[in-house]
Amino acid sequence: MAVRAVAAAPLLALWVTSAQQPAPPSVLYEQHIFAGGAAPPAGKLENPFQGDKKSAQEGEKLFAAFNCDGCHGGGAVGAVGPSLADGRWRYGGADGAMFHSIFYGRPRGMPAFGGILPPDAIWKLVTYLQSLQPATDAATVSWSK
């Protein structure tokens, strides 16, 4: 398990002071079936830091500082909360879906962090999670010799 390298308090102070942001628009979920084949109108959120290594590193620090690893495990490999490192997404893995999961929370235990984290911090968390490389052969586990 990765170890927290950062004291959370300074980061928390930084983010909380700038946390007055409007709520994001609703987004489409690519995993949903659209009744009648017609997608409802919705916005599209894009990660402004997509692929940026520095943002991913900052996101990793935030992942520890805001206690995400307490549920999802160091390295986000899963603990009491599901793995976020397997390339599979319960609520969608597109930018906007991941942002919504963190901002609004999810019903089966995921807290809503939108009240204490500004959008930039959430996007850095998304960037970190998107930087994790899932194992290519995760679908099969074999014990035969």
């Binding site: 398990m1 927290r4 307490g70 599901p82 599979r88 997404w89 089966r108 194992a135 586990v141």
Partner: protein
């Protein structure tokens, strides 16, 4: 039998003299013995034990706890969403009389540290009383399944959840909160059995007035002074200091004392909370009527290793150094087994029951452990290696049993060591307050668990049955000379209580983390019941043991890479009979 009978008569708070063949409270009796006087299934015939019935609870999660059997009805509480089933044992196939499906806030899933388990219900005065995960205690009419009352006792927004099993004494329902990993301020509450009204609240840390430690009534054996539970913390540290109550409660009617253990102080980084952190990692003795604290003893002062002390306090009367003493026996996460005078809190025996290296011994004069300073942890100490036992403890929630027939305690144990690294953390309500990385490794011998027989008067292990995985099920002892326990890889086993020879086993379909019980059916036959439902801490830590969520695939756990070869999640109630 003469010896056994006379011993039982001498026991003050002990296994019931009259065995009625029922199982009305979590640990069978107030002494938490998990001992049944039934002899129908015994060492001579247990080889013929066979599966008689099974039922899927419909829930895939750790099935800790145990059923109750009262008036030919078996009551089962599932993990979240905490359905209560009532099975009619008088009809073929044991169909349901009713089921009760309360609303339970799914947000509680996110503040349940270690799977969404429930440790069971208590029967009292025609009511089934139990806790919902989301901080409610409910009472349900045992005959009709109608909800009688529902009281909010805990606040999920503060990280409080309620998986523990209540204890009912007279008209008082005693409950406690979990949340040692979320920075709660631990408490127990006493509710009125008739109305559900909260009569008293007793915190485990803070000023005397809120700990209910009165100067006239509170007499700890080793400690002196006022406000010990406030002054042994940094200023305000006790406000988010953990000390939760998620284990088992017991009660001595003769002394009118309720006993329970408290969990870890928060956060894990001990440098954020200098001091002993009383009464985290402690046993507390209270009056059930008004909650008054009578005595307390701290097993692990200034806990550095997440050594919760919520494990059961089993009440027995033992001859210690030639003198008969009313004791409680406790197998702590910290690896020591304690035999304590239950009237005063004096430690009489404290010996390691698993491999221990964080302390050399426990001083009976001071009650304090003598530490190995190289095993102290804290953010400034970096990664401290090879600490035994792990933060899972020498034993965790899995309750032991005591047989007055043999005079021995039967203890499911873990055999693992760990590295431990903490980091500073910030308290954010409703999120984890931990800051630890602690990978496990097998303890000496390479096996990860063992089921042992323990002489608590002498502090000696008599025998052990080694298991490849941590033994996370509870124990059941019977007058048939048997002990029962389950394994993480899905076996239910029966062993000779004297020798430890395994006489029978059956693969139940999922890992066993619940506690076997036994009862007499309407047909006068003896039955053994157990849950099969892998989970609890091992839901988090076993790698890829789930098959219900295609969006959650995990690498194997390094210290037990093949557990998923032998089990996966489940939720089955089993009955066995000859």
């Amino acid at each position: 039998m003469g010896y056994v009978t006379s011993l039982i008569v001498m026991l003050g708070a002990a296994p019931a003299v009259q065995e009625d063949g029922q199982w009305t409270m979590p640990a069978k009796d107030y002494a938490a013995s998990r001992y049944s006087g039934l002899t129908g299934i015994n060492t001579a015939n247990v080889k013929r034990l066979r599966a008689a019935w099974s039922f899927s609870t419909g829930v895939l999660a750790g099935h800790e706890g145990q059923p109750l059997v009262v008036n030919n009805t078996m009551y089962v509480v599932t993990p979240y969403p905490n359905v209560l089933y009532a099975f009619d044992l008088t009809e073929e196939g044991y169909p349901l009389k009713w089921k009760y499906r309360p609303y339970v806030n799914p947000a509680a899933i996110g503040i349940a540290c270690c799977d969404v388990i429930n440790r069971g219900a208590f029967y009292a005065q025609g009511k089934i009383v139990y806790n919902l995960l989301d901080g409610h205690t409910v009472a349900v009419d045992a005959a009709t399944g109608k909800e009688l009352w529902r009281t909010r006792v805990a606040d999920v927004n503060q990280g409080e959840s309620t998986p523990m099993a209540p204890l009912v004494v007279r008209d008082r329902v005693i409950v406690g909160t979990s949340g040692g990993e979320y920075g709660v301020r631990g408490w127990v509450k006493g509710l009125d059995l008739e109305s559900g009204r909260i009569v008293w609240t007793a915190y485990n840390a803070g000023p005397d007035a809120e700990v209910l430690a009165g100067p006239e009534t509170f007499k700890p054996f080793y400690d002196r002074g006022r406000d010990l539970a406030r002054n042994s913390w940094p200023p305000d540290g006790w406000k988010h200091g953990g000390a939760p109550v998620w284990g088992w409660l017991s009660y001595d009617p003769a002394l009118d004392l309720l006993y329970y253990g408290t969990g870890n102080p928060a956060p894990y980084n001990a440098e954020q909370r200098p001091g002993d952190n009383k009464w985290a990692t402690s046993v507390l003795a209270r009056r059930p009527g008004d909650g008054a604290l009578i005595w307390a003893y701290q097993f692990t002062p200034a806990d550095n290793w997440d050594y919760d002390s919520v494990q059961e306090m089993i009440l027995a009367d033992l001859a210690i150094k030639g003198r008969r003493r009313k004791v409680l026996v406790h197998f702590d996460k910290n690896g020591f087994a304690y035999t304590i005078d239950r009237a005063t809190g004096e430690v009489l025996v404290a010996e390691p029951y698993v491999t221990v290296n964080w302390a050399r011994r426990v001083s009976l004069a001071t009650g304090r452990p003598e530490l190995d300073s190289t095993k102290l942890t804290g953010a400034s100490r970096g990664n401290v290696t090879d600490i035994c036992p792990t933060l899972e403890g020498g034993k965790n929630q899995q309750p032991a049993a005591y047989s007055p027939q043999t005079g021995l305690f039967y203890v499911p144990t873990n055999n693992m060591c760990m590295d431990y690294q903490t980091a500073p953390v910030t308290y954010l309500a409703g999120t984890p307050y931990m800051g630890v990385s602690a990978p496990y490794k097998p303890g000496p011998g390479g096996h990860l668990g063992a089921f042992i027989a323990w002489d608590a008067a002498r502090g000696k292990k008599l025998w052990e049955i080694r298991e490849p995985y941590p033994v996370w099920s509870g124990a059941l002892a019977t007058a048939g000379g048997l002990v029962f326990y389950g394994t993480l890889d899905g076996w239910l086993k029966a062993a000779d209580a004297k020798s430890g020879a395994v006489l029978w086993k059956f693969k139940v379909g999922s890992g066993v983390v619940g506690n076997p019980i036994t009862f007499t059916g309407p047909d006068r036959r003896q039955y053994v019941a157990v849950y099969a439902g892998f989970g609890g801490d091992w839901f988090l830590l076993s790698g890829d043991v789930r098959s219900d969520d295609p969006a959650d695939v995990r690498p194997p756990a390094g210290f037990m890479p093949d557990i998923a070869r032998h089990t996966s999640l489940g939720g089955i109630i089993w009955l066995f009979a000859l």
